[in-house]
């Protein structure tokens, strides 16, 4: 085809305002393409201020119709941004969309270079490469695959609950998987929520109950997703349902087992180490589901073989020590990850003495301390459980905005600290100092709350605390915790003795976020948060089709933002479900069977398990429904027997030739 007929190619160079034109001589690139690439088939080259505008698109459409263009090369931004725009425009004019290619001269040229002459040369090279390559592009047809209407939501915090409810209320089935014994997440541990100070449990538990009883939601707590395969519309998911040792079919949630269990352990999870729980337990009174769990490593029966108190007293014989972990396989069309955050370990900031000085508390400890269902019934006391503090220091940015730990702002800590100050003053009348670097109260009614706390008489000291110590230098400091800080408004060092210190520790990605990301095929930023498809315009999608993210899994967020993201992710999933089928990119690998030696190297390399070995023929074959066109097998095949549409050897070599052409 190439020998006897060079296809007619149109080259379009975009200025992108001054984004490209500021660094690349667009006019020069156009002229050069017109003159030097003419022998390669370029029949027209144009430049335009904004190619992506409707006028720019019309320009291309007109040329296709009037000049009979067979290929279109647009030198503009990254294909991530506008490949779809131009392919759609070409399609409208009757050209197969896969005969249009984008050359990134913005992200890969103008934004990363400063020397105009060199940048222009590079832009020409890139255009030349694509012009050479596109001659070998073949028309491709998109495949349509039906979408499974079920959805998997991972994480039962407020973001996950919201997402599950939205989808379930629209009439579609949701599997809500949570690894703890109850849904509710971090919000279930809090006492009050800022800035309205409404009770956290009161607004959360109705949602939990709704999620627990909804006919369209299958709730799977004490469960974890272990494996995901497939693609958008058809994900096969394997879920580990950990043994509860309680038969959920007969358990009524009466709580007699918990009451009779003779062993108490420190509850490091829900009570943040401040309280105790039994070995057979529900994390908190309003837990959903109401079934308890037996904590196997601590259970006397599992360790010593005797006890069985829970079994003896259970009125419905629901205790089942023989229960085993089981795997459940489900198929879903879309997945929402709302896996949340871990609290920064305040003990890592050793100069604040957390874990060493008894009266230094972490933020979550204070939440439990102030919670009326917490270990002290909501009394704010020192670690002895009795003494009321007379002065309290609250330290902001513990582990956040600190290059020793995390560079980012955890966004909720300022408001959380203000809430603490209000609660302390309301319940104990103690003097409260807040030590902040900057106050960040940007959302609705947040700054008003700050003003209110200021009016209540909380004292604010601007400066990063150097250390919290029990080493008194002066008599009035004896027996106190001394907060040593540079007051940057006064320009002096201060030592402020207090009875109690609350550290406002920030948020961190889940410790296993990276591993979870690998399971679902999405990636983390250098900080460890999941990366959105676009941080501004597509904040709940990921680069993997069919996988959405919501809540704190993508970065620190308060409750309203998490709820909004849960709902947004649900809307995206509903959009997909209602389309009933999904178009699959036709970029696929295929095996040239006469060249295949049957070595099976590609079988194990494929990350999507899309290649199977056909025993009768002794060759490997690619399943086009599973292939994602990643190209791993193309590169791995020792016989060169695998070729990828869009990435054939001819295309790659032609592109290299083009790139190396003297410009």
């Amino acid at each position: 085809m190439i020998e006897n007929h060079k296809p007619k190619i149109g080259v379009y160079v975009c200025h992108c305002g001054s984004n490209i034109a500021g660094t690349v001589n667009v006019d020069d690139v156009r002229k050069w393409a017109q003159e030097k690439l003419g022998p390669e088939g370029v029949v027209i080259a144009r430049d335009y201020k904004f190619m992506c505008s409707s006028l720019g698109q019309e320009l291309i459409e007109k040329d296709i119709k009037e000049l009979g263009l067979e290929r279109v090369v647009v030198a503009a931004c990254s294909p991530h941004l506008h490949e779809k725009t131009f392919r759609t425009a070409a399609e409208k004019a009757g050209l197969n969309p896969y005969l249009t290619e984008l050359v990134s001269i913005r992200e890969q040229v103008s934004w990363v270079h400063t020397d105009k002459a060199i940048a222009t040369e590079k832009a020409k090279s890139l255009v030349s490469g694509t012009v050479q390559r596109i001659a070998y592009n073949t028309p491709l047809e998109k495949q349509k695959v039906p979408i499974n209407a079920n959805t998997l939501v991972v994480g039962g915090g407020i973001a996950g609950i919201q997402a599950a409810l939205e989808i379930a209320n629209a009439g579609f089935h949701v599997y809500l998987v949570e690894r703890e014994p109850s849904i509710g997440g971090h919000m279930a541990q809090f006492d009050k929520t800022f800035p309205t100070l409404d009770c956290s449990a009161c607004i959360l538990t109705p949602r939990m109950v709704e999620a627990g009883t909804h006919p369209n939601i299958t709730l799977m707590t004490w469960s974890e997703v272990t494996n995901v395969s497939g693609f958008v519309g058809n994900f096969d998911v394997r879920i580990l349902k950990k043994a509860r040792y309680v038969n959920e079919d007969v358990c009524t949630g009466c709580g007699i087992c918990t009451e009779k269990c003779p062993k108490k352990v420190i509850d490091t999870h829900y009570e943040a180490g401040l309280g105790y729980r039994k070995v057979v337990y529900t994390p908190f009174a309003q837990a959903v589901p109401r079934f308890p769990v037996i904590d196997r490593p601590n259970c006397t029966f599992f360790q010593k073989g005797t006890c069985k108190a829970c079994e003896k007293f259970c009125p419905t014989n629901a205790i089942d020590f023989k229960q085993e972990d089981e795997f459940i396989n489900i198929t879903v069309g879309n997945i929402i990850l709302a896996t949340g955050y871990d609290l920064f370990d305040a003990g890592r900031v050793t100069n604040y003495g957390y874990g060493r000085l008894p009266n230094v508390f972490s933020s979550i400890e204070f939440e439990r301390l102030s919670n009326s269902a917490g270990p002290t019934g909501g009394e704010i006391t020192l670690r002895d459980g009795k003494t009321k503090p007379e002065t309290v220091g609250i330290i902001h940015c513990v582990g956040s905005r600190d290059k020793n730990f995390n560079n980012y702002c955890s966004s909720i800590c300022c408001m959380q600290s203000l809430k603490f100050a209000h609660i302390v003053r309301e319940r104990t009348g103690a003097d409260v100092y807040e030590f902040y670097i900057d106050m960040r109260t940007p959302m609705k009614a947040y700054d008003e709350f700050y003003q209110r706390v200021l009016d209540e008489g909380t004292l604010f000291v601007r400066g990063k605390v150097a250390e919290v110590t029990n080493a008194a230098r002066y008599p009035h400091e004896k027996g106190k915790l001394i907060i040593h800080v540079e007051d940057t408004l006064v320009g002096k060092q201060r030592r402020i003795p207090v009875d109690m210190v609350i550290l406002s520790n920030g948020m961190e990605p889940r410790h296993d976020a990276k591993q979870t990301g690998q399971t679902f095929g999405i990636s983390c930023s250098s900080d460890g948060w999941y990366i959105e498809r676009h941080p501004k315009l597509d904040p709940v999608s990921t680069m993997t089709e069919g996988i959405y993210i919501a809540g704190c899994a993508t970065g620190p967020k308060d409750i309203p933002a998490s709820v909004a993201q849960g709902a947004a992710a649900a809307a995206r999933v509903l959009d997909k479900i209602l389309q009933k089928e999904v178009e699959m990119e036709p970029i696929r690998a295929s095996v040239i069977e006469e060249n295949c030696s049957g070595c099976r190297i590609c079988n194990s390399m494929c990350p999507f398990n899309a290649i199977a070995f056909i025993g009768d023929l002794k060759v490997s074959r690619v399943n086009p429904a599973l292939c994602q066109g990643c190209g791993t097998c193309v590169a791995a095949c020792p016989a060169g027997a695998i070729t990828g549409t869009g990435f054939s050897n001819e295309q790659i070599f032609a592109q290299i030739d083009g790139l190396l052409m003297t410009v």
Binding site: T350, N351, G353, T469, A471, A472, R473, Y474, R495
Partner: protein, 338 residues
């Protein structure tokens, strides 16, 4: 046999003789071979680096170059003194980080026929070597006279765990290596909150009243915890806290008697060495009473020789006499920082 190239530093031959003597005992028992850097010279202490960088680094690098030439089965250079350790580490680090500096220093070294390639030595402090190489288990196995009942304030000082270029310490603000080491000797270790605070450094020479306050903080805190004695890993810390404790007492009108000893002295004691060979008796604030609590008889410090009367004619009154001696200033209340 653990082999190390050993950089003693000047204080080991003078003020910190107790450190040197006890270290040699401890090294013998722990089977450590210490090969002294041949013809070593001053590390520049805390002052020289702030005066003139190139000669200061050249001074230090001479030791590194000689030590690197002595590499024989080990490239680990160990220094017991915190200031020496930090200076050696600093020179090695900055010669690599700033190639221009490294070049200049090597130019200077070339005059003596020497050359140092940064990174060719591992520079370690004695505590780090004992805890991380020899290991607490081995140390524990050598204890024949546990220090049961002795309350110890472990004081590391500022220069060992910071800036810690090679990330050898568990933490920079609150490292627990020395605490753990004292624990395995059987001592009762207090959770000393000022373990990495400043001892005053050379402030005792240039602004004594500043040093007195820093000394007071450390000694009074150890006293508050009812420590019998304070252990240190640095000759300068030991010198400041021991030799200037009396001055600080006079300045503030306090009566602290806190013995300051080197950690190796207690190790030697726990390994069964007698108190005199472990270097006790060389300190100024006597550790005799403290050691008596665990049934160890220690020699009393030698009484200071009476001050010589000034020869010649009397001097006119000093213009800054008020600050020259703490005695007159002792009535003044110190300013509260707040």
């Amino acid at each position: 046999m653990n082999k190390y190239i050993y950089y003693p530093g000047c204080s080991m031959e003078g003020s910190a003789r107790a450190y040197a003597e006890s270290l040699s005992q401890v090294a013998k028992i722990l089977d450590m071979e210490l090969a002294t850097v041949r013809d070593w010279n001053c590390c520049g202490a805390t002052e020289y680096l702030s005066i003139n960088l190139i000669p200061a680094y050249s001074l230090i690098a001479r030791n590194l170059a000689i030590a690197a030439g002595q590499v024989n089965g080990t490239n680990e250079l160990m220094a017991p003194c915190s200031a020496c350790y930090l200076n050696l580490e600093k020179a090695d680090y900055y010669m690599a980080e700033r190639p221009a500096l490294g070049e200049k220093v090597n130019e200077a070294l070339a005059a003596g026929g020497l050359h140092y390639k940064p990174g060719s030595l591992q520079i370690r402090h004695l505590v780090d070597v004992l805890v991380n190489d020899i290991g607490l288990d081995v140390i524990k196995s050598k204890v024949v006279r546990p220090l049961t009942g002795l309350r110890i304030a472990p004081y590391l000082g500022c220069m060992v765990p910071r800036p810690d270029y090679q990330h050898r310490w568990s933490d920079h603000e609150y490292p627990l290596e020395l605490d753990d080491l004292m624990h395995v000797l059987g001592a009762e270790v207090i959770d000393f909150p000022l373990k990495t605070d400043c001892c005053g450094g050379h402030m005792s020479q240039i602004a004594p009243e500043t040093a007195y306050e820093l000394i007071r903080r450390l000694v009074s805190e150890a006293d508050e915890y009812q420590a019998d004695l304070m252990v240190t890993v640095c000759p300068m810390c030991q010198m400041n806290l021991d030799a200037y404790q009396g001055e600080a007492n006079r300045f503030f009108g306090t009566k602290y008697q806190m013995p300051i000893v080197f950690f190796t002295q207690l190790m030697a004691l726990a390994f069964g060495i007698d108190a005199k060979s472990a270097g006790f008796g060389l300190e100024l604030v006597s550790a005799k009473k403290a050691l008596a609590r665990i049934g160890v008889e220690a020699p009393a410090p030698e009484p200071a020789s009476p001050r010589r009367k000034p020869d010649g004619l009397p001097m006119p009154p000093h213009r800054r006499k008020k600050y020259a001696s703490g005695r007159e200033a002792s009535d003044e209340k110190i300013a509260v920082a707040e």
